[in-house]
Every structure is written in C-alpha cells, then in structure tokens.
Symmetry: C2
Subunit: 309 residues, 2 copies
C-alpha cells in the first residue's frame, strides 16, 4: 500500500472522527468553530504524553489514544465539565507509519463513543524524536460553575473515586519482575476518566482535582489552593484486590500507592459523599496535606509524585 | 541558580503571561475557562513546530515563540477571527533549560502585546527528542461568520497580503551560501500574521486561506474547496526588494517563491481589493489552480509545498 501522507491520513483516519461535528468542517479548513450555548462557558485543559517519559515504546497505539483522552477527560470531570470536543497534536517519527496511525485513530474513535466527545481539529508533524501526543480538550459548564482546586471548606470530607495506586503498582511490578498483573496493567494502560461524576461535582463539590501526580501531591495542591489542611487516613485509601494482595506481600510498595500517580481518579472535597466514592479523610483548619498511618502519625513518602516531566 | 522545575517555571515565566486573563486562574488549576460573548463563536486552530523539521536548532527561543504564535494567528486572520487566547504544549529536552524557557516566555510576552492575545494554559513535558512547540489558538467571530476556504465566486479577484517567497528564499540562500540577506532572514524568523486584516476578511472576503504550504499549494486548496478555478499571474506576485534582487540573479529560484511556503500571508478571494494587498489573479469557472507565466502558459513547479511534515 502506498504511503498516505499527511492529507491522506487526515482524510482516511481522522475526518471520520470529526464527521458528527459541523464546526470541524470535515478537517478541510484552516480552523474549526466551537459554539458555546448561551449561559455556558468552555472549560479547556491540555495534557501531553511522550514516549519513554509517560509511556513505553511497547504500549499499543489504541491504548495510547484512550489514555491521551482519558488524562484530559479526567481533568474535565474534576472541574465539573461535560466533554464536548478536542484538538490533537501528533508528533510522529517515521516508524509510526500509516498502520500505527490507523490503530491510534481506531482507539480515538472507541473513546469518542465511550465519552461523548468529538475531534475538532489539530496538527500532525514529523519528528526525528519520540512519539509525542497532545490533546486540548474542551467541555462545558454553566458560566461561573467550574469547580476549582480552591474552595474546600473546614468540615468537608475528602473522597476519592475508584481505587488508588493500580498504575503505579503496575510499573513497580514491571520494574521488579518484568511481569504485571493483568488488572493492574489494564489500569495503567486504560485509566477510566470519571466523566460520570462531572455533574455531581459541579452541583455539590466544594473543590476537586484529578489525581495524576499522586494522591499525596495532588492533595497538597488542593490544600494549598483552598488554604486549608487536608488529612488522609492511609488505611481508608481504597485498593483494588490485586493491589491489596501485592501490598500485603511487599508493604514497602505503600509509598508507590500514595505517591506514584497516574491514577486519573478524582479527589473531591464535599459536605456529603459523592456516589460511588470512598471517604479517605477530612478538611480541617490549618495548612498542608498529610497522610496518616493507623496510629495517626504522618507518613513521609520515600517517593512522591512529580517524577516525570 | 537552582533549577526551577515544572512548577517553578510555570510560576516564574508563564503565570505572568496569563495574569490578565481571569479564566486562566493564574495557571494554578487543572483547567481554564473561556467565555464566548453571546452572538459569537470560537474559532480554534492548532499548529506545531518541530526542531530540525520546521526550525533550525540555532534559531533563537524568542523568535520561535513569535513564530509559533504567528503561524496560528495567521490562520485566525484568514478565517476573519479576532485573537483571544491560546494554550501551549512544550516538549523540551534537557538542553532547553530554565534560561531557554525564560527567553521563550519573553518572546511570547512580546507577541501577546503585539497581537492582543493571552496565555490560557497548557502543558510542559520532558522529551529525549527535539524541541517541539504546539499552540492551540482561539479567536472570536460573530456566529456563522467564519470565512472558509470554500466560497470563492467566479469573477472574484485573488489578492495576497505582504510579499511572497521571502522565507523560502532565505532558506534557499542559506542552503547555497551559508549566508542570508538580513531582511529575508527576518521574514523567515519572524513572519507577520496579518491580524489587522481579520475584520476586512470577515466583512468582505468570499474565501481565504493562509499561505503556509506555498502559494501554489494553498491556492489549490482554495480552488478545490470552492469548486472553482483559480489563476495567478506569476508576474503579479509581490516580491520584496531583496527577493526581487535575488531572483534577478538566480531566475531558477522562482519556483521556491511560488511553491516554497512559510509565507504566513493571506490569499483572499473577494469582489474588491482588501486594503494593503496585491491583486495576483482571478477566480473563473472550472477547477484546479494554475500559476501562469507572462505568456499565459501554466508553470509546472519543480518543487511544491508540503515538503515538511
């Protein structure tokens, strides 16, 4: 099969992803248009993934597509915004050819159907470096209703969605043994953005953040922005069964769970429990964030988040 | 000086660029908000620049910042949209350290003041590959008023802003002699987005496109989208004095002027002349685009656009 080239790839792989969005003009123009309904504003977030920094060269293109959208949709959900559309920047070396791009676009299509989002536009460029994927994702909230990191109130409970530490444990297990429990691997490869919580967050949360740098670090971000103190009880942090089993055999991995990141779950400060979440701590007067052990003593993590760029 | 790290760089270099935009929240949250006035819609365009593909490793960070915004603002101007804000993705190798980033941010600030645009948010990531810069730029048009590539009408004149071929000749001269005329170099390094034409384009143009792939290629895009035939008279294509002098001494460079790209000027189809532009051709019934020599014979270009990814 002859190589498709940039225009051929757009027509074959990407235009179908934009077909249901009139403002994308079939990806045939210099720009796209986004209509924001009266009384709403756009919520915009941008996250990029780099080969060998944020993902492995052996990761599958379909998984990378799903992850790229998930890490951005997770931010939208934390802000109480409903997904609308996204713009894409692909920097691709020669070895990521038409077959790779086709599989990547297939993964995007799957995610689009899952999360109700559509491709607006973007750019695709050549590179002699690693595969680099970036998305700017746009969602909607009623004007003035975006949920901030700031806003947590003394007396709020702290809640997390899903389970924490699965992705970090997948990497830890892979580093040590070269093998990974299939469930942990799936959590690393295909994080689930909590899109379904956006409405609840918008209506009830005082503050929220998505957990990408690690529970400890992101809890610190929320405490600092809100000018409060956040305490999390380590024993309350929800673990998946494979994570709990791994931790039982290697207790030192606890720090990876609390500090490792890549969870893409939500940390929510609210007066009541969001549906399907676990209460992990509380907001009190003061400053800073601490994770407490079962004796109530603050844990100093051997390894915190922010380890990748 | 100790290294700033991601958060330090944001606080020091990028937060000041977002200071005047309330919806950027000082770059301290997971996302930003964009308000679109009632009766308007957002125009969104994304362009990326890759080291060794779109720019030289010796190019200065201030120039790269200006160019990154210019190539996107040029798209907005072609669509008749007034600039609003932008989101940024920086993929930076270790050698692009704090000093480099500070100079890059300084260049962004200068462009922001020139073009009335503000930083909304973004992401900065590490890479072991080339410097990769991407911006998603947003502007405003009254709803339904974005100017398309489609829409050129039989009888329209074709007009271009500025002069054509300067950037392509700068590269050609550099390849041959290792030296570049200062004016041509400045046109390569600091293209001028025709932001001031956006209002006229919106009110009067039937179709428009920014010239990035080369005059010949972009004229073809416009003709195809509009389902018309576009003819350009090569003798009418406006040249800067240094470009004209170079061409007089090396006539074979004509194809680089017409096909080389990186002009970031506007090609406009309209019934009347846009202010400060040059009439270069006409829209007639038929299909395709041709550039005609002084005898009216179509020119076959030795080298067309689309040469970089």
């Amino acid at each position: 099969m002859p190589k498709l080239g940039e225009f051929g790839r757009i027509e074959r792989f990407f235009a179908p992803l934009a077909a249901d969005l009139p403002g994308a003009y079939g990806l045939t123009d210099d720009a796209a248009t986004v209509q924001v309904p009266h009384g709403y504003e756009l919520v915009v977030t941008t996250d990029a993934l780099v080969e060998r920094v944020h993902f492995l060269s052996t990761d599958q293109p379909e998984d990378l597509a799903a992850k790229l959208l998930a890490v951005n949709l997770s931010d939208l959900a934390a802000k109480g915004a409903d997904p609308l559309c996204y713009s894409l920047v692909l920097s691709l070396p020669a070895h990521a050819g038409d077959y790779w791009v086709g599989r990547f676009a297939h993964g995007l299509g799957e995610s689009q159907r899952n999360w109700g989002i559509k491709l607006l536009g973007g750019d695709s460029v050549s590179t002699d470096g690693p595969i680099t994927l970036a998305a700017t994702v746009m969602g909607l909230v009623p004007t003035g209703r975006m949920v901030r990191r700031a806003g947590a109130q003394v007396g709020d409970g702290l809640y997390v969605s899903g389970t924490i530490g699965d992705a970090a444990l997948a990497l830890a297990q892979f580093e040590r043994t070269g093998e990974v429990h299939p469930y942990l691997r799936s959590r690393y490869r295909r994080p689930t953005p909590r899109v379904e919580l956006a409405g609840w967050v918008r209506d009830h949360a005082h503050a929220a953040i998505d957990i990408s740098d690690g529970l400890a670090a992101d809890c610190s971000h929320l405490a600092r922005a809100s000018n409060v103190r956040c305490e999390i009880d380590a024993a309350l942090v929800p673990l998946s069964e494979p994570a709990a089993a791994l931790l039982a055999s290697e207790p030192a991995l606890r720090d990876r769970v609390l500090g490792g990141g890549d969870d893409y779950e939500l940390l929510i400060a609210a007066a009541q429990a969001p549906p399907g979440t676990t209460r992990v701590g509380r907001v009190i007067a003061g400053e800073g964030a601490e994770i407490l052990d079962s004796a109530g003593v603050p844990i100093t993590l051997a390894r915190t988040g922010w380890t990748h760029g």
